[in-house]
Symmetry: C2
Subunit: 372 residues, 2 copies
């Protein structure tokens, strides 16, 4: 489907919107100062106690707990100043159309207060926190604030995008693919012919499918990083789903770590609950490896017995509220527990190097059997 | 310089050459069997004792120690069979123009010997060893044998390549870059306008330089992974140097870990000494951060004190034969030791987000002051 006509640019990421949000914060504090008040801002309380699973949105969200941070408070002033310094840096970055990294942001903000020996930041831990706080206060992601995380991962498939003026055809990227940037906010989708997206946890599986041109045969987009999806990938999956209605399928090893990768993409993570709205994708579906696949495709020969760490992770995930609410998933996790072993996607090659492209993926798609 | 005329394809990687090498191994064993001999092959002894620094080639190489592996020897037979099984798999892969991963190769070779309960491999450790042995025996890399390592990293710059029939312009890759494949043996260079290559250890520094289009301003190619360069990147650097005479500069933090990254790219590594010929690049030069740069660019403010682990690594590297032979490097490592602290490339942003693009890199190139 080609919808290049409208919705091409990410509508929620206009330079003006983002600068307005930063200005509003600054203006509020300015007004407080002028009025002779003790300057403050409110931000959602962080930490586990304020993270909730939202039944309605089907994602992890922050609760309603708020805390107020004052300038004239010896316990608050340092963080107050750091957050405002970060806001100033962000505005500068957005205005100059440049981006920085978490590490560089620390160096950019670091300075000594004139006439004192006090540095406004001593360690990157402080600037990282300030960035997280700023994200919460003005409800923008660090990517929208032009502060990028590390990038990783590659994409190939039936789509053409535009990025910084370059037109990039994901179907003509050879064996490498396009390296997915850490920040996809300004990415423009020019032409999306793909009907769905597969995210896989392993780069080597991606290499295999890409060599088979599986994305061409199945008319899709394939994306991988290594293990957990980066923030850039999660936003990319979300945008492809939200803006083009593309179903997103998660392909992992048949083990509890694969389930956790799926969980993070779909529901968000506890650590980044504040960013769930911008990163989580409740529409994501799990395309395997399932415990039933092991039987069906004769992979029993390749079982790898659980270690203690697998069992304890399984017990933890079994108790996640969002899995407990799914009968399907409780069954799956029960089967996994009884089997006491895992199977890797790589094992499919024992049935032929292109078995996944020619059999496994087409079977899944034809039968539409995805765990949800 | 455009040299698209000849040398376009990697001359050392023809399908026929590689299959011939495998056939020769098979034919040798076949002849031994026909002659009623105990089948065997010779391979260079592995391990530290047989790794030497070659004064002439300026790289780490394997010594002349050889060991003979027999089929009819209870201590040898398992490894003998595994190596031959891997050779058979490689031939199949090359013939079918398909590639596999180390993990998948294990699954592909795994099988039970008919009439027994003995599997020819039980663990990937065995197939990894068999692949390493095969590389040594027939003097081909695993990439030439169509067995790929994990990929990572991105490239951008003034070059156009062809890969699996796709023409990829490295100067039109937006903010992501082209994801560097694990295997660049079949990559065809169509047009190289760049005058040199910079490999940097940090993806975030690459992002910064790429956003500045530093590769356009300086007329070069920029490459990064995260930390140590992958095998794919090392081969790519080597091919760009060997086939197009492009100087290769290594850009790292000013610390001992940066020096180690440089050392591996330039001289090879102890673990992969057997592959030095195909991976090491004695022409590579170090473009900083040097200890003198810290003074010159006023980065003292951003010194990070050594930890114990930095000091012990420094002492180790100071004693590497290949550094001991370089007066320049012994001075540099001495300065580093006396300073007792490191500085990160990221610190340059304190002087302006584009300081590296506008000052640091042009200074280095103009003055030609590279550690060698």
């Amino acid at each position: 489907m080609d919808r290049s006509s409208d919705m091409a640019e990410n509508p929620k990421n206009t330079k003006k919107n983002n600068i307005d949000a930063l200005d509003k914060l600054g203006q509020g504090i300015y007004n407080q100062i002028i009025a002779g008040e003790n300057p403050y801002f409110d931000l959602p309380t962080r930490g586990l106690a304020n993270v909730k699973y939202s039944e309605e949105k089907k994602i992890l969200t922050m609760g309603s707990g708020l805390s107020r941070r004052y300038f004239l408070n010896v316990g608050h002033v340092r963080k107050f100043v750091q957050t405002i310094a970060m806001a100033a840096l962000s505005k500068e970055l957005i205005q100059s159309d440049k981006h920085t990294s978490l590490r560089s942001a620390f160096y950019q903000v670091r300075r000594t207060i004139p006439g004192t020996k006090i540095d406004i930041v001593d360690d990157q831990v402080e600037t990282n926190k300030a960035i997280e706080d700023l994200e919460l206060i003005i409800d923008l992601t660090r990517e929208q604030l032009h502060i990028n995380a590390n990038k990783a991962g590659a994409v190939a498939g039936e789509a053409i995008v535009e990025d910084r003026g370059d037109v990039i055809d994901w179907s003509k990227m050879g064996s490498g693919g396009w390296a997915i940037p850490s920040n996809v906010e300004d990415l423009i989708f020019k032409k999306i012919d793909a009907k769905f997206v597969i995210y896989m946890e392993k780069q080597t599986i991606w290499d295999r499918l890409n060599e088979d041109k599986a994305w061409k045969k199945l008319n899709c987009i394939i994306i991988a990083s290594q293990g957990q999806a980066t923030r850039g990938i999660r936003r990319l999956l979300q945008r492809l789903n939200r803006e083009y209605n593309l179903p997103v399928y998660i392909l992992t090893d048949g083990d509890i770590w694969g389930v956790y990768i799926y969980s993070t993409i779909k529901f968000g993570s506890i650590a980044l609950a504040s960013a769930s709205d911008k990163l989580a994708l409740p529409e994501a579906k799990f395309m395997g490896l399932t415990m039933d696949d092991i039987e069906r495709y004769g992979l029993k020969r390749h079982l790898i017995k659980f270690k203690d760490v697998d069992i304890s992770r399984l017990n933890q995930i079994k108790n996640y509220e969002w899995f407990k609410k799914s009968k399907q998933w409780m069954e799956e996790l029960g089967k996994m527990e009884r089997l006491g072993a895992k199977v890797e996607l790589d094992a499919f090659v024992a049935k032929g190097l292109s078995f996944m492209t020619e059999h496994y993926l087409p079977d899944k798609l034809k039968e539409g059997k995805f765990l949800d």
